[in-house]
């Protein structure tokens, strides 16, 4: 399956292990990534906060580039990209006059957005296009006895109607379904659908880190070995900022946080190191020990 692949900014910036692990995992899943390296930042909601039309036009540009490829859809690996882009797409698709206005701006570059681009996060692709049954057959190292807490990121679960979440597509349960399909144990804890706090890290650092620290603590109390997230921005607050979050919530945490492709990669038999897990701020010792013990037992 060929997809127009939008890696986003942070996966090539402060979480290079995300982009890297996606590149390792894709061929194992028979996903061919046509990278949209001409695409621009989705604006992460911040550009829309400054000027909605600017954000919509910038994303229409990326959509138009995706539509020029022969990919069957556009795929992203970031909850925030998914949410910001879906928000812009909702406006673009809802109103032809508005779409024409935006396309007018793109015209001089020979670009045009046609209504209805299919833009899916890797998580949705795994469940809806590859299928969990198919995925189960590819698992080489079941995540047996690995207790994983799902952490979605706001942008991929709300608002439900915009993101196409419903009883026929329970996209807000996909992480749990995936963890189980890979053989792991799902940890049910309070923070799975809450905000990591990242968007206000520069505005109210204490409140921001209190959110991250609380969710990490709740997951630990529920006996999680690690969290998994499809959002690199959540990863920044949960992993990169974890030493600071410990200070705010007044407890030791040390909970590893995996990117989604890393968790999939582990189950598909890839080595933790080649999945970039050595690059996390919180050493994923529990996960690596687990994976070594599994390898040793095979």
């Amino acid at each position: 399956m060929r997809v127009a692949y939008w890696p986003g900014c942070v996966s090539r910036g402060f979480t290079p292990e995300l982009h890297g692990s996606m590149a390792k995992v894709a061929p194992l899943l028979d996903i061919e990534l046509v990278e949209l390296n001409r695409g621009n930042c989705c604006g992460a909601g911040v550009i829309a906060e400054h000027n909605q039309e600017l954000a919509d036009t910038l994303n229409a540009r990326t959509f138009a580039l995706a539509q020029q490829t022969d990919g069957v859809m556009m795929m992203n690996i970031c909850s925030t990209c998914q949410g910001s882009q879906s928000e812009c797409q909702q406006r673009l698709d809802a109103n032809s006059e508005y779409r024409n206005r935006i396309n007018d701006t793109l015209r001089s570059d020979g670009l045009r957005y046609e209504k209805g681009v299919v833009n899916k996060n890797f998580l949705w692709v795994l469940v809806e296009d590859i299928g969990l049954d198919q995925l189960k057959t590819m698992v080489k190292r079941p995540l047996q006895d690995l207790k994983v807490g799902p952490f979605y990121g706001c942008y991929i679960v709300r608002p439900r109607d915009r993101l196409g979440i419903g009883s026929d597509a329970p996209r807000d349960r996909y992480l749990q379904q995936l963890i189980e399909a890979l053989g792991g144990t799902v940890i049910d804890y309070a923070g799975a659908y809450k905000c990591c706090g990242f968007p206000i890290i520069t505005m109210n650092k204490d409140a921001s880190l209190k959110q991250a620290g609380t969710h990490l603590g709740d997951a630990l109390d529920a006996d999680a070995d690690c969290l998994v997230t499809p959002c690199p921005l959540c990863h920044l607050n949960l992993d990169l900022q974890q030493p600071l979050a410990e200070r705010v919530v007044g407890r030791d945490l040390g909970l590893p946080v995996l990117h989604l492709p890393q968790l999939v990669g582990l189950a598909l038999g890839l080595d933790p190191k080649e999945l970039g897990m050595a690059r996390h701020v919180v050493k994923p010792t529990s996960v690596i020990d687990w994976s070594e013990s599994v390898v040793a037992s095979v």
Binding site: C9, F14, G45, E49, Q52, K194, G197, T202, N204, L244
Partner: protein
């Protein structure tokens, strides 16, 4: 008639007893509301259940509760719909009091202590300037349409209940009150726009304390989308009134927006210092940026040690190709040079109905 089991959280603070769960099974048709379920249980089984309600038609905003963990109006939620959203294995519909507010009894929360205090905080009345006109105020139609969404609020407190910022920072003015603030900031008759915006931008618990989690949009039963109103307040504060707030809100937005204009992609290493020190290359040398750097050293050191961030990566932005960057900059130029920001509000204009033309063609064909 089908049976529904309501699992209701019972709590009477002055009793000194801990909160507990109690199940009530009611025989009602699925299209009847959760409120009717609660009232039926109260009438037939247990008169001590505490619930506040009045209109039963999603107008008065009295019966806000949490159903299966999410804030909603009990009168606007069908039993069958609530059952579908149930995560309990036994198919129980879990009904709790709203969050972020103290419980008075069972499903009744103290709206005065939180919600109404916050509404009062934003001066929720018109502050006109100068003498009143001889007859009525004349207001452009578009201006009033613009504030209709924030005016649709029925003060039920559902957004306050589920606000994730307020959960960690109870001082946060919050979604309902800030949506109410936009109602006056967007009203041309009000003469205190600048004062209102200055107040809300400079308050550490104001517009920049919203974490953009969409929970209030999801919770609101009337489509007010409070978070969107907060973002409109930010646009007005930052761009119309150029308020350079002490919370780094506007600096962050400007730094972000100009980094994308200059590189096409985000340069995180530059975003943080500029958010504190100002939107230029020299921002990182400002004292505020220095202080922040020192404060964040535990994270930065570990990120460098773990080769998550390399010094080269931090010093050099990743950019999109030159021709593409030129396209991005052209987009910026065109849109930023417009006199007015253009905002499409789907609450007001609605979504186009699919396939109007096709239906017309079909009808023609079938009649032929």
């Amino acid at each position: 008639m089908p049976e529904f089991t309501l699992k209701i959280r019972r709590f009477l603070p002055e009793s000194g007893e801990a909160a507990y769960w109690q199940d009530y099974t009611v025989d009602l048709e699925g299209h009847r509301s959760v409120l009717e379920g609660i009232l039926t249980a109260k009438a037939d089984q247990d008169g001590t259940i505490g619930i506040r309600c009045s209109c039963r038609a999603a107008i008065c905003g009295s019966c806000g509760v949490r159903i299966n963990g999410r804030a909603a109006l009990a009168c606007k939620t069908h039993l069958e719909e609530a059952l579908e959203g149930s995560e309990s294995e036994d198919g129980e519909i879990v009904v709790e009091p709203m969050g972020n507010m103290p419980v008075i009894k069972d499903l009744i929360v103290d709206m005065d202590a939180v919600h109404w205090k916050k509404i009062q905080r934003v001066t929720p009345w018109l502050l006109p300037e100068g003498d009143p006109p001889e007859r009525e105020y004349v207001v452009p139609h578009e201006a009033m349409v613009d504030v209709t969404q924030s005016m649709a609020c029925i003060q039920c407190g559902a957004c306050v209940s589920d606000c994730l910022s307020m959960e960690v920072d109870p001082d946060f003015i919050g979604p309902a009150a800030l949506a109410k603030a936009y109602r006056f900031v967007g009203d041309p008759r009000d003469g205190q726009h600048s004062e209102r915006l200055n107040d809300l931008a400079e308050d550490p618990a104001g517009i920049y304390d919203c974490t953009h989690c969409f929970n209030c949009i999801e919770a609101c039963p009337k489509g007010v989308a409070p978070m969107n109103q907060i973002m409109r307040l930010r646009r007005a504060a930052g761009d119309d009134y150029e308020i350079n707030d002490r919370n780094n809100g506007n600096r962050h937005e400007r730094a972000f927006t100009s980094l994308i204009r200059d590189n096409g992609l985000l340069w995180e290493a530059e975003l943080l210092p500029r958010s504190y020190g100002g939107d230029s290359f020299f921002g990182k040398f400002a004292p505020a940026a220095g202080l922040e750097l020192v404060d964040s050293l535990p994270s930065i050191t570990r990120a460098v040690l773990r080769r998550k961030v390399t010094p080269m990566g931090a010093l050099k932005p990743h950019k999109i190709p030159k021709e593409d960057l030129a396209q991005v900059q052209q987009i910026y130029e065109k849109i930023e040079s417009q006199d007015d920001r253009f905002e499409l509000n789907l609450y007001i204009v609605g979504e186009e109905v699919e396939g109007d033309t096709e239906v017309a063609v079909e009808t023609e064909g079938s009649s032929a």
